[in-house]
Symmetry: none
DNA sequence: CATGAATGAGAGTTCATTCAT
DNA sequence: GATGAATGAACTCTCATTCAT
């Protein structure tokens, strides 16, 4: 595949991403993507063979960029609590964006895949997030910012709360205040007051 | 609609329920339900006009029964902690059933509805669950079983953790041990040890 | 068929007549009639076996009543010109009612029947109208009100103009003034000034 | 849409035209047209989205061709009376073809459209025909071939008679002689003898 | 007589996917 | 590589008609 094809591939993925954000996963058809990209029906098939494949690649790009963004925005002299709070604030922002997010599409996508295929991305993201939070908590414990018996367990709990908020944002609706309350609750448990 | 059709209505809903459990919401067509029920195409339309309507009614039945089951299984002399633990165990059982559950279908269903229409069932269930847990915690605080500053907040947190577990069970997969760990974590925070 | 059945038959025909006036012929289904009559599906089939049959019977009733109405409204001392003008005015009224008329339904009905079956009603009505107008013209000639070489031919022409107006009212739309102009034109040709 | 599809579009319209001539408008389904054209179900939808649209386009083609045919067949040295008679003969030919005509379909089509949308084609055709006849009559008056007080009114009357004949041909049936009689009557009124 | 549940044929419509150009 | 016309399967929905009660 030449230079040109790589570019077109990327263009398609970026356009498809917007479509998935708008309509979720299931409702998106090859036709939708073809139309959004303004390319020919057959043309799309030269690059991808199904919405499944396209979505997976979109997700891959997404997770790469997510890592970058996160590490970029950490100040040099940030404390563990600072970083955790920053992370939670980021999550909150994403939660509340609701429709401008791949969240829904991602859930829909993994709903219909067998678990065997699931550990690919979503699970890896979850696990790596747990690990990062765990390190953060341990660092915080050392510096006296946090208190926790079992930091791994606490980290997992944080992630489940976030997952709970995320899905709730898509299904029952959630306000900024509700997220704030949860964040404060988490921080209080960890012995930090979130100020 | 006479006696007979009430029965058939119920039969259709029960059969459709199984279909939704198997395939989620989006992938289910009227044709699927027709075939599962072994009735005629037009016959189904005599009772329901869309998968939306059918699903909503399935959900209604479901939530009624859920209430019944829960209140049935509470022992006369149960303490607050007993009841909470029972509740969490129930949730765990449901979580781990994964595919034999309406969870996925419910999420899919509410994904495509506007939030305005969402407070109907899912939100109501969430809120009422929060209230019940809150009462439980307050009772537990009084009896010395639990400790919590703000029981309402703690109750909400419990629900979000459960939601997080529920969605994770559908997407990244979850083991019995993972659920147990979360339950223990919750109980520890509440000052109970879950033994 | 007992007393009761005759009454119900009539009720169905009267109700169906309204339906045909509203929707024409082709768009009317047995279901429409069943619903308009508020009777059971099977019930309708006890009396009629198709919309065709129902419409034909509606038409029969209609043509009987039409005759009655016309002869009723003729004054004792009316001249030929008076009667012709009265007739044309009646036709005008009906033309302009447009949707509240069986005209459209009748056309639609006869469109799909073979000509062999057509001389039943519509043709008979046309012919008898021609004859009546012919007699009228002949009487008018005798009394010096009208002038015509061939009264039969003139009568036919009047009827075709009326048919032309009738169909135009249904298709391209027609105003009261347009009808008036045609009526005046006809009367002028017949040597009457329509005053 | 390239060169090729223009051809196919035309092919579909021509085939559909035959179908409409045979079955009228209402009874024609997309399936009928698909089968007549021997193309795939989806294929038709590539070009047209409804029988309504197809019919309207058939009608457009038809009216274009009608204009051509008429102007083609006028001799260089034809008098006003010659042309009018030619026009009436053309109309007669079409009248008597009855089933091989779009007349019925056209009526059916406009029956179910609102008047607002009707002035599109049918009304325009009517009006322009009136104008042409009017010019013809005025030319004929000047050359001494015709006599008429109000040529516009006379032209309108001619058109309504023709409409009357047209609809009668479809509903009660009409013979060649009947049309001839009406043509002669019209010409006599206009002071020409139609020889 | 009357009911209305049930059937199944058939119309409309949309898309994934292929393939000649 | 790229196009977009074409196909056909799959779905939704509506009714005429029947038939057990």
């Amino acid at each position: 595949m030449g230079e040109k094809s790589v570019q077109k591939r990327k263009y398609i993925l970026e356009t498809a991403r917007k479509v998935f954000m708008e309509k979720g996963f299931k409702r998106v058809t090859m036709k939708d993507i073809v139309e959004a990209c303004d390319i020919s029906r057959g043309g799309l098939y030269l690059y991808f063979e199904s919405t499944d494949q396209i979505f997976l690649e979109v997700l891959k790009l997404e997770s790469q960029e997510a890592d970058d963004v996160f590490s970029d925005s950490i100040a040099e002299d940030a404390t563990a609590a600072d970083i955790l709070i920053l992370f939670l604030k980021e999550q909150k922002k994403e939660l509340l964006r609701r429709k401008d997010t791949l969240t829904q599409a991602t859930y829909e996508f993994y709903f219909e895949k067998e678990l065997s295929k699931k550990d690919n991305i979503l699970r890896r993201q979850f696990d790596s997030a747990v690990k990062i939070i765990e390190k953060l908590l341990e660092a915080g414990v050392e510096s006296g910012e946090f208190v926790c018996d079992d930091c791994k367990e606490a980290a997992r709990n944080v992630m489940f709360v976030l997952e709970g908020l995320k899905i709730s944002a898509q299904t029952i609706g959630i306000t900024s205040e509700m997220v704030d309350r949860e964040i404060l609750y988490i921080l209080r448990i960890l012995g930090a007051d979130g100020s």
